[in-house]
């Protein structure tokens, strides 16, 4: 429970609005229970044990449970970034090219999540402007939150103890309901990243444009 208390403190400091309103998925009772120090009841899911279910905020100003609202029941590509590091490491530019390849699948079958490692600077408003600058469409969310929450997500999904902002190189992808997760290089060629999202799709009838039918 120590971590939970830390979350509460940090969350209240950075995003006080969260304490007063409901989270996107669970309604106010759920968040109140959470803030009272009780563990938040997770509805479960194939990857529920793996993804920290932290309260975050998207660049659209939407409050969300990270796992329940942004990952669950979706195919997602997920990376870490910060506005201030984009010049040095142009991962968002690369993902904008992936977005173009995904076409109308984005926001329906496939979702992109870009999580900031610089939440104090990368407020929802700053991320909104950044998203606009990169032409982000519906289905590509830039995610921020309290330092503690974003750090928890980062350490679970990005860095693994090898230092901080370097985790910008990891691009995780997976199919949540099928619990299929992998990771590659965020700066890989856009078509290769888009192809990876297709790999984790479930095709119940064998068929492939690459396959030769005997």
């Amino acid at each position: 429970m120590k971590n939970r208390r830390e979350f509460l403190t940090a969350g209240a400091a950075i995003l006080p609005v969260l304490a007063l309103t409901a989270c996107a998925s669970g309604g106010s009772a759920k968040l109140v229970e959470h803030l009272a120090g009780n563990s938040c009841k997770k509805p479960g899911g194939a990857s529920a044990k793996y993804f920290p279910n932290r309260v975050v905020m998207t660049h659209e100003g939407r409050k969300a449970w990270f796992y329940d609202d942004l990952v669950k029941n979706k195919i997602v590509g997920l990376n870490f970034m910060s506005i201030r590091s984009e010049e040095q490491f142009a991962v968002t530019q690369n993902l904008a090219k992936v977005q173009a390849l995904l076409g109308d699948k984005l926001g329906r079958e496939v979702f992109l999540l870009s999580l900031t490692t610089d939440p104090e600077h990368d407020t929802p408003a700053a991320l909104e402007a950044f998203a606009k600058q990169h032409g982000a469409k519906d289905g590509w969310s830039f995610v921020t939150g309290s330092v503690a929450d974003m750090q928890a997500l980062y350490h679970k999904l990005g860095a693994h103890g090898h230092g901080a902002a370097g985790g910008h190189h990891v691009w995780r992808y997976g199919n949540e309901p099928y619990a299929r997760w992998a990771a590659s290089h965020a700066m890989a060629k856009p078509q290769q990243l888009a192809q990876r999202l297709a790999w984790v799709e479930v095709r119940k009838n064998p068929s492939s444009p690459k396959a030769q039918i005997s």
């Binding site: 590091s85 693994h160 103890g161 090898h162 619990a179 299929r180 990771a183 990876r196 095709r203």
Partner: protein
């Protein structure tokens, strides 16, 4: 774990924390990552990951599974083999045909555990052991019948790599040659030594999944097996009357053993973390059984130890004064046997050893232990446990001899082929390193469309492999052609070093730099080099290199264009 070893770990935990602090950067700030590092009060080992359940299992309860030998089929394949998909097919027409079907099934890792969903070959995990012979080409048709809607960390799309075999690119099981559920692929193995040189013959190889980004997960689910090669010397018959025959222990006295460390969820299904640094399992398995025992007669045995990964390194020793007689490294017989107290196995390495139990009385037990200390998936700590204090792997129980032991260990085995430095046309440098959660070679992640080295067929090259890191080890594996080590950190290997051999896995410790000699022969096309800590491999520590036609003279083999792709089909009745 003993108190002594625990204390060692605690000291190391402190050291690790210091290194992590030094590496911290911007954004979250130095202070923020302290909580993620281990401290003496709450040191956790990767294998004690809270996601993995401790079943408190008893050691040495289950017998070691003896892997069945693959049986060839005696009916024609339908659809038939397409020779145009294989280089040099007409020179090496398959004399034996095999079928393997990859399926999901239930398996019990320990008699006190519930069953676990695993993936295997023809209902076997590990898959059947192939007994191949030089001069007898084979073809294996593998059908992927894994559930397309599988729920779990692995991907039911596979590619089966026959590790270190000398065969064409399209039969190598490369990361991009994947076979989805419902499809099959034909693998053509000529069983022909590199360059036609008898000194290049091999002995203990293995097959395993190599799916891009999903090798660790798919291997972990069970997709591994042995492929043994025999010839006119290593005949696989200890009674062989031929004067050439080595008469090494054979039949039931020749035991392939693959080591994997695994963890479980509370429901008995396999657990694997998503940590890109590596993964350490809670339990040691041999041939997929947790800490098994093997009844051994009081005589000589040939054990073929293979580290099947995903990320653990081993230093195997016996809790007795018994030594290993090492006869092979990385699947190749040495020039002469070497006596060793312990043998080190980084991921994918093999050691063929003879253990002589003849001095033991029936009823005696001897424990095989791992003396290598490792608390993180990224590599061992550099410390080792004292003899008798290591982690138990399995147990040998001595039983009476049933027949005289006629096997032998010859004083001379297989000479090393000559290193022909005058044929070297190219020097290359490859630095294995890390950047922000991703593992790199020469600063780049793997790109399946990028060719990182083009090599003229028939030429020799010297590759310098450097570890750019100071905290991790990499078992570097090069496909297709074996290498010999010219220099290790600037010095030649000492006489009697077991690594003075033909090799396909280089154990690259922190800061190491090693020079390797290769000769590239017999086929054209692309292969890969990668870290065989399969978690590092899946997180892009791989390059693609290709053999191109020689600048003068005819080429052996041809580039097959378009690249063969998976074919739709279901296995015949009975499979």
């Amino acid at each position: 774990m003993t108190n002594t070893s625990r204390r060692n770990l605690l000291k190391l935990g402190l050291a690790t924390a210091g290194a992590g602090l030094a590496a911290s950067q911007q954004a979250f700030g130095v202070g923020d990552i302290v909580g993620d590092l281990c401290t003496p009060d709450n040191l956790t080992l990767d294998q004690d990951d809270p996601g993995s359940h401790d079943f408190n299992l008893t050691l040495f309860v289950d017998p070691l599974p003896i892997i069945p030998v693959a049986q060839s089929i005696d009916f024609p394949l339908a659809p038939p083999i397409d020779p145009s998909r294989h280089q040099r097919y007409s020179e090496f027409v398959p004399q034996k045909i095999y079928i393997q079907v990859l399926r999901e099934f239930d398996f019990q890792y320990h008699s006190a555990l519930p069953t676990t969903k695993v993936w295997g070959f023809n209902g076997n995990v590990p898959g059947e052991t192939f007994h191949a012979r030089y001069g007898e080409p084979v073809l294996i048709r593998r059908y992927n019948q894994l559930p397309a809607d599988h729920v779990g960390f692995a991907l039911p799309s596979v590619t089966t790599h026959l590790h270190n075999l000398h065969h064409a690119s399209e039969s190598d099981g490369l990361p991009w040659d994947h076979v989805d559920s419902g499809f099959f692929w034909d693998y053509h193995h000529p069983n022909y030594p590199a360059g036609g040189d008898p000194l290049e013959k091999q002995a203990t190889q293995w097959y395993h999944d190599h799916r891009m980004d999903f090798t660790a997960t798919n291997v972990y689910m069970g997709l591994t097996g042995f492929y043994l090669l025999f010839d006119n010397q290593d005949t696989g018959n200890e009674h062989d009357k031929s004067h050439q025959a080595f008469r090494l222990p054979s039949g039931k006295y020749d035991v392939p053993m693959i080591l994997h460390d695994i963890s479980f969820q509370e429901d008995g299904q396999l657990y694997l973390s998503q940590n890109t640094n590596g993964f350490l399992g809670r339990y040691y398995t041999v041939n997929r059984k947790i800490n098994p025992y093997l009844e051994v007669e009081a005589r000589k045995y040939r054990f073929r130890f293979l580290n099947g990964g995903p990320s653990r390194f081993y230093e195997l020793g016996l809790r007795s004064d018994q030594q290993f007689i090492v006869i092979g490294n990385d699947g190749n017989l040495l020039a002469e046997p070497i006596l060793a107290e312990t043998i080190k196995l980084s991921v994918a390495q093999r050691h063929d050893v003879i253990v002589d139990f003849s001095k033991y009385e029936p009823g005696a037990t001897i424990v095989l232990e791992n003396l290598m200390e490792q608390i993180r998936g990224e590599g061992p700590t550099g410390q080792r446990f004292n003899k008798g204090e290591g982690n138990p792997v399995m147990q040998f129980k001595v039983v009476p001899l049933t027949a005289p032991d006629l096997s032998r260990v010859p004083g001379k085995l297989r000479e090393l082929p000559k290193v022909k430095l005058r044929e070297v046309k190219q020097h290359r440098l490859f630095t294995f390193d890390y950047i922000g959660g991703i593992w790199t070679v020469n600063g780049e992640g793997f790109d399946m469309d990028r060719i990182d080295a083009e090599i003229e067929q028939g030429s020799a090259e010297i590759w310098t492999i450097r570890n750019g890191g100071t905290r991790w080890e990499h078992p570097v594996h090069i496909h297709f052609e074996e290498f010999q080590i010219l220099e290790f950190n600037g010095k030649p290997l000492p006489k009697g070093d077991v690594n003075k051999s033909r090799k396909d896995v280089l154990t690259l410790g922190p800061g190491d730099e090693v020079k390797l000699f290769f000769h590239f022969r017999d086929y054209l096309g692309c292969h890969v080099m990668h870290c065989h800590n399969v978690v590092h491999e899946d997180h892009t520590m791989m390059i693609r290199w290709c053999i191109i036609p020689p600048k003068s003279g005819p080429a052996l083999g041809e580039i097959i264009e378009p690249r063969p792709v998976m074919r739709l089909g279901t296995p015949p009745a009975g499979f």
